[in-house]
Every structure is written in C-alpha cells, then in structure tokens.
C-alpha cells in the first residue's frame, strides 16, 4: 500500500470518528468546504450590500425612508462583460481615498460634458478608458465635478436591484425607462417626476461621441 493512500484512508477513518462523536461540528466543517465557491460567487457574480449616505437621493436612501437601502450588486456585467452604460448606477473606488462610493455614470469615453461648479473647466472631453460619474444630489456628493473623470478600472460593480425596503423593491432602471413602474399618487409620484427631471438635465449636459467606445492601450 503506498503512503499517500494510507494517509487518505487514515484521514477517512478519523473523519468518521468525528462525524459520530460531534455531528454538529462535522456538519459545519463539511459546509465550510464550500466557502470558496460562495466567496467567488460574491466577488464575481452578485452580492448584497447596505448603501449609506445621501449623495444618491432621491434614488437611494430618500429622506422618508426609515432604513438604509439593501441593494443587489452585479459584479458580472462590469468585471466580465465590461458593460458600462450612461445612466447606470455603479459602485467604484474613490480615486483619492480608495473607499467604495456609489455614483451614476453620466458620460463615457469620447463624450463631452458641461461640468458643474467646483470643476475648473466649463467643458471636458472624457478621455479614453475613463467615465464621468455624478451623484443624483450634486450638493451632497463628491463626484467627477470634484475629482474629474475616473478610470473605468476603478468601477467595481453595478447596482441592479433594490432588495429592501419593500415599498421600493425592484430593479434599478434609469429614470424615464419605459419598464419602470409608474406610481400615480403620493410622494412616490413626486419623486418619480423629480428623478426624470434630473435625468433630463443631466442628459442635456452631455454630447455623446459618435463612435462607439474603443479599447486600445
């Protein structure tokens, strides 16, 4: 009998002993074996996270909400498919501090954008491999108007679905998207109108580049 086989069979024997002596511990350990798959799924496909802060109001964390929003983050379409679209809400590392922030993509490489106050130039052409990101609430947001265009490599994931609170549960579509639910009454309707207005104002500041985005290095 070769030593490797001997080792494996003795391991099996002791595992059987553990199983009979401590069934609960054995169950936990055999579940932990699948941890790598779980972590990889969280990193490369989907994960659930809290979003805090007011920079994306009124889309996320509106003032009338009692909870912090729980959002499903989609890593797959950013990391693997490299799908960046204007109007998508994304999570990115802040270029100066490196902490995770949530902003909306306003312009993509080649686009020209009219900037807002803290930025020194009135108009910017977004360079190759970069994007212009802004919070929905410009006065409470440190965004591209503050630090300029950000490299696409800093963008980590896309916010795809609101999971909590229940009254705003659903896919995060850009304002004005025909698939968005149309609330008829109350604060939800006012918020919807406000979001569409903001989206229109944002879009009016962007001149889209005629060529599709290209990757060259």
């Amino acid at each position: 009998m070769n030593p490797l086989r001997k080792g494996v069979s003795s391991l099996r024997q002791s595992w059987k002993k553990v199983k009979t002596a401590y069934p609960r511990l054995a169950w936990t350990m055999s579940a932990m074996v699948w941890l790598p798959t779980g972590i990889a799924f969280n990193e490369y496909f989907y994960s659930l996270k809290f979003v805090s802060g007011r920079s994306m109001q009124p889309t996320l964390n509106p003032d009338d909400s009692a909870w912090r929003d729980v959002i499903l983050f989609d890593h797959f379409s950013i990391n693997w498919l490299q799908k960046f679209r204007r109007g998508d809400i994304v999570a990115l590392k802040s270029p100066h501090e490196g902490k995770l922030i949530v902003k909306r993509i306003v312009a993509l490489p080649g686009d020209t954008i009219k900037t807002l106050p803290p930025y020194p130039d009135a108009e910017v052409r977004v360079p190759e491999g970069h994007a212009w990101v802004e919070g929905d609430e410009p006065f409470r947001s440190e965004d591209s108007n503050y630090f300029g265009p950000v490299p696409l490599g800093l963008i980590q994931s896309k916010l795809s679905v609101i999971v909590w609170p229940p009254e705003r549960m659903g896919a995060l579509l850009p304002p004005g998207d025909p698939n968005r639910p149309k609330p008829l009454t109350g604060p939800a309707r006012r918020r919807e109108r406000d979001e569409i207005d903001r989206q229109k104002r944002r879009e009016a500041r962007v001149t889209e580049s005629p060529q599709p985005r290209s990757f060259q290095s």
């Binding site: 790598p36 990193e43 802040s94 270029p95 490299p151 490599g153 800093l154 060259q216 290095s217």
Partner: protein, 189 residues
C-alpha cells in the same frame, strides 16, 4: 479479444437500471461541483495572496524581457506601503481589461518632471502628485506608455507588487529596489 470485451461492456450497460443512472449522476454531479470549488479556491488564492504570471511587452526591458518570463506577484500589499523603485502591477487607466507592470517613481505630494527628455511634454513641465495617486514609468522609456501620457495613477487601480522572477532559471531571483538615496537634506527614499 476486443470483440469479447465490447460484448461484455454492452451486457453491463444493458443491465444498468434507472436507479443506477441516478446514482451515477449524483456521484459525478458532486464531483463536478468539487472541481468547481477547487478552481474557485485556487483563483481566490491567486487574487488575494499571490501567484505566478507570464509577463510580456517591451516596456520593462532590461528588467524583464519582452516575452517568455514568469514572475511572482504578491497581492497582499497595501498601496500605502509601496516605496519609490518598487515594481507594481495595476489596471491600465486607458483600458480596464489590461493589467500592466511599471516602476513606481513618485508618491503623493512629490513634485515630478513629466518628461525630462522633452519628447512627450516640455522638459520644464512639473506636476505635484495629488493625494491617493502615484507616478509610474516603464524602465524602457522609449517603448512605454505610462504616467507621462496619462498622468498620476489612482492607488485604487493598484493590484500588487512583483517580488521575484521564477523563469528562466538562469535569471531567477528577487527584484531589488534600484533607488538610491543621494542624501539631499530633508529627503528620504
């Protein structure tokens, strides 16, 4: 002989029942999942601890040749602990799908001359590297696209640090920091 073997195989296949197929499917399904799990574990190790990679491209000559060399990348570095002279890998600011390796030569707060040769920028142009950013240059400046083109690079793009060359064996060894303190007062490297 082969015909008799085939006949035996056919007979054993014919004797299999539905329950046998279910058992086989469960066994191989579990094995497939286990393989996926191991692949995930190895990938996570490579992404968070370190792994060997093949390098290519002329931008780091003569430190690394243009093709066919294998290096070990350490992923457990915090960008704040990097020093001038380190070989650092980062996601290209021009293309998020590419990882590049260059030498770090400027830290936040340093004043740096964009291109002393005056080829890509006037040789008098100097910039202050902003907070949370660093300056990268390829060892082979003629054949490199680096901070001279795209400016300071955010620390958020940094992936890791190259520690050693593993292949070819004649050139194997640790990468040494090639920066020397020339002893200017108030400076430190």
């Amino acid at each position: 002989m082969s015909t008799s073997r085939l006949a035996a195989l056919a007979q054993s296949l014919a004797s299999l029942r539905r329950a046998d197929f279910e058992r086989l499917g469960k066994k191989w399904g579990l094995r497939g999942l286990a393989v996926v799990n191991v692949v995930c574990a190895v990938h996570l190790f490579a992404e968070h601890v370190g792994f060997i990679h093949v390098v290519s491209g002329p931008s780091m000559l003569p430190t690394m040749s243009a093709a066919g060399e294998v290096v070990f990348e350490n992923r457990m570095v915090s960008p704040k602990s990097l020093k001038r002279g380190d070989l650092v890998t980062y996601i290209s600011p021009l293309d998020p799908t590419r990882v590049v390796c260059k030498r770090l030569i400027g830290l936040p707060g340093d004043i740096i001359c964009v291109d002393p040769t005056g080829r890509l920028a006037p040789s008098t142009e100097h910039v202050v590297i902003p907070k949370g950013h660093v300056w990268f240059i390829g060892d082979n400046a003629e054949m490199s696209r680096d901070s001279r083109q795209y400016g300071p690079v955010s620390m958020g793009l940094i992936r890791g640090k190259l520690m050693a060359k593993v292949w070819p064996p004649t050139a194997a060894g640790f990468f040494r920091n090639n920066f020397v303190d020339i002893g200017v007062e108030g400076s430190e490297v």
